[in-house]
Structure formats: structure tokens, C-alpha cells
Symmetry: C2
Subunit: 213 residues, 2 copies
């Protein structure tokens, strides 16, 4: 359907051009508001004021949109400067985790290859920081592997069971307190942020640059 009247048709300049950036930004907003299940090409197009199939000129598939949205989240992770290598690494992974938790849907996309420029830039930064600190060979790989693994894993866990996750898990544990005694005693409403900080300290304490050749 063509816009019938000049008056109803948005003025030339008023209608912002559809760009890949606008699509990705709107996808992130939609995901933030309604979650992954409700992200639909049609709904996304509607919010952008375009036809749904128009999106396919800018993007090959819906998976592209998800990949780009995820990398946009990675783009929010600041690259810290200054301080010791340990401070820089801790700041990086803490900011990384915070970015993922600001957009909880992102943790559901962490399978699938992370080859976006923002993801690679952060990974490179991590490797470089550790290499500069003196980690080499298998130690370097293991250190980088452990830290990034720790970030994505902890974000996934926290997005899955948000603090005070309602009557769900907690009540279920209470009901089967006999089957899961330790869990029911300690794991009911844990402070995940504190656990992350302390766990990160464990990990960093355990790794020493130049220790194992």
C-alpha cells in the first residue's frame, strides 16, 4: 500500500533512513523489553516503521540480527587502563559481566561463535594484558580461558536465577529439603555479586605469571 496523501506521508527528512545500526539498536531495545522469544522480524520491523521483509536487504537472516545485537552488548564493555595487570584483568571481567547482566537475554546467545569485532577486541585485550604480565604458552591460554569462561558462566548463572527468583527455586528447595540439605541451607538466596568477586579472587590468586613454563 502506498501512502495516499502527501500530508500523511512522513516528510522527507523526518523519516530517518533505515540503517544496520538502527536495526541493531532497536533489536537490543526490543530484547531488553520483551526477551528473546518475542523478538520477531515482523515486530522489529514494526517498531522501525518499515515492512518486515525490508530488513532482509540490510541483513541476511535473523541470526545475523542476534549476532549483531550480542556484539553490541560486548561493545559496552570498557577497556580499563592503568593499574597492575591484575587490576586491569579484574576490571575487564567485572565490566564484561555487568554488560551481560544489563541485557540478560545476551547470556542465552553465548553459544554461537563470538567473532564480532567488539568481542574479539575484548578477547585480544585480555590476552594482551596477560601476556604483558608475563604469562606465556599454555599458561597464557589457560589464564585467558579461565577468566573469560568465568565471566560467561557466572553471567549465565545469574541471569538464570536472578536474586529472589520468586517462589520458584527457593520453594522447590524448601519442599525437598531432605534431598538437598546443604543446598537448602546455603543456596536459597545467595549474593551472586559477592560470590563472583570472591571467586574471581580465588582464580587470580591461583594464577602466577611465569610460574609453569
Amino acid at each position: 500500500m502506498v501512502n495516499e496523501s502527501v500530508w500523511l506521508r512522513p516528510a522527507r527528512r523526518e523519516r530517518r533512513p533505515l540503517t544496520l545500526d538502527r536495526i541493531v539498536a532497536e533489536a537490543v531495545a526490543l530484547l531488553d523489553e520483551e526477551g528473546e522469544a518475542r523478538l520477531t522480524m515482523r515486530r522489529l520491523a514494526e517498531r522501525l516503521g518499515t515492512g518486515s521483509t525490508t530488513l532482509y536487504w540490510h541483513v541476511k537472516t535473523k541470526d545475523d540480527v542476534l549476532d549483531l545485537a550480542l556484539d553490541a552488548v560486548f561493545g559496552q564493555v570498557p577497556l580499563p587502563e592503568g593499574g597492575t595487570w591484575r587490576q586491569r584483568a579484574a576490571a575487564l571481567v567485572t565490566g564484561w559481566r555487568a554488560a551481560l547482566l544489563r541485557h540478560p537475554w545476551s547470556t542465552g546467545l553465548l553459544d554461537r561463535p563470538l567473532m564480532g569485532p567488539n568481542a574479539l577486541e575484548r578477547t585480544e585485550f585480555l590476552y594482551a594484558t596477560l601476556a604483558e604480565a608475563g604469562f606465556t604458552g599454555p599458561d597464557l591460554i589457560a589464564a585467558a580461558f579461565s577468566l573469560s569462561t568465568f565471566v560467561t558462566g557466572s553471567a549465565t548463572m545469574q541471569a538464570r536465577d536472578p536474586a529472589g527468583s520468586g517462589p520458584g527455586l527457593a520453594r522447590h528447595l524448601q519442599q525437598h529439603r531432605d534431598a538437598y540439605p546443604t543446598l537448602a541451607a546455603h543456596g536459597l538466596d545467595p549474593d551472586w555479586d559477592a560470590a563472583f568477586t570472591r571467586g574471581l579472587a580465588y582464580l587470580l590468586d591461583g594464577m602466577t605469571p611465569g610460574a609453569n613454563p
Copy 2:
């Protein structure tokens, strides 16, 4: 459609009854062979020799099938006995990771609440092992959090970039070697298993029972 002939109709005992267990087992097999995207209620039913909507008598939604399939994977994780607490914890998380990697699709389901009996049993085992070792309070929570986070995170990473992941990531890194020099130098074809073992040692080295009250 009714089976027309006695001869074509499967003999009484030959046709195994449709049970929840059979559905879940077949779902796991289908996921193993074709991955999550190709798991369809219709295809699953076809493999089971039933109509698709019949499944809905045993199961409320497709998500139920996925939850049950995931918990079935957790059921493959052995609960180690004997040895020090450190040996038991290491054995648990190693077996946990192996089970997830035997069914790579499982890492894509690690968002979503893990409330299945097998998952809870393993988590309880981990908490109990650490508590018995002397971890208490925030230290206990942080230790359990770190270990399970490390398992799920590392399995996700490895399922995402399997060893020798073809021309994909490696070539992309080579092409942009100037942008990601450290990554291109070290991260091309890493030994994830070795990185996991070493990283696990970091983590366990960093945590001491009864250290921080």
C-alpha cells in the same frame, strides 16, 4: 488413519508403549544427531512412530522436552567417591564438563532454570563436598559458584569453537592479524582440555577451606 490389516499392524508386544522416558531418550538422540534447530515435535513424533500431538499428552510444551533432555545429560555425570575433597571436586566438574561436551547442544540450553532432579543432585553433591571440606558461609557459596560457573562456561566455549573449527575463526584471525596480534599468535588452535585442567588447578589452588570467615 487406522492400520488396515492385521499383518501390517505391529504385533501387540512389538509396539512398545509410549512413555516419557522414551520421548526424552529419543529427543536426546535427535539432538545429538541433528542439533537443537532441527528438534521438532513433529520430527520427534515421527521417530517415535506416533502422531505429533500425542506427545502433548505426556508433555505440556516443547520446553518441557528440552528441560528433560538437559536433565538427562546431567544424569550422566558420575558422583565420585573417595579421595580428598579436592580430588572429588575435580572429578565431579571434569565429568560434568565431559557430559556436556558429549551432547554439545546442551550448552545452548544452559540458560533456563536448572531445577531437574539430576542437576540438583549434582549441585547438592558439590555443596556437600565443599562444606565437608570446611568451607562455610560466603566462602562455601563462592567456591560452589566458581566451580559450577567454570564448568558451564568452559563447556559452552568449547562447544562453540570446537578444536580445528575449520576455516572459520582461525582464518578470520589470520586476516586481521594486525588488529588482534596476541590472539592470532596464541589463540588459533588451543588445547581446550589442557586449558581447562590448568585453569581448574588455578581455581582450586586459590581457594582454601576456612580461610576467610
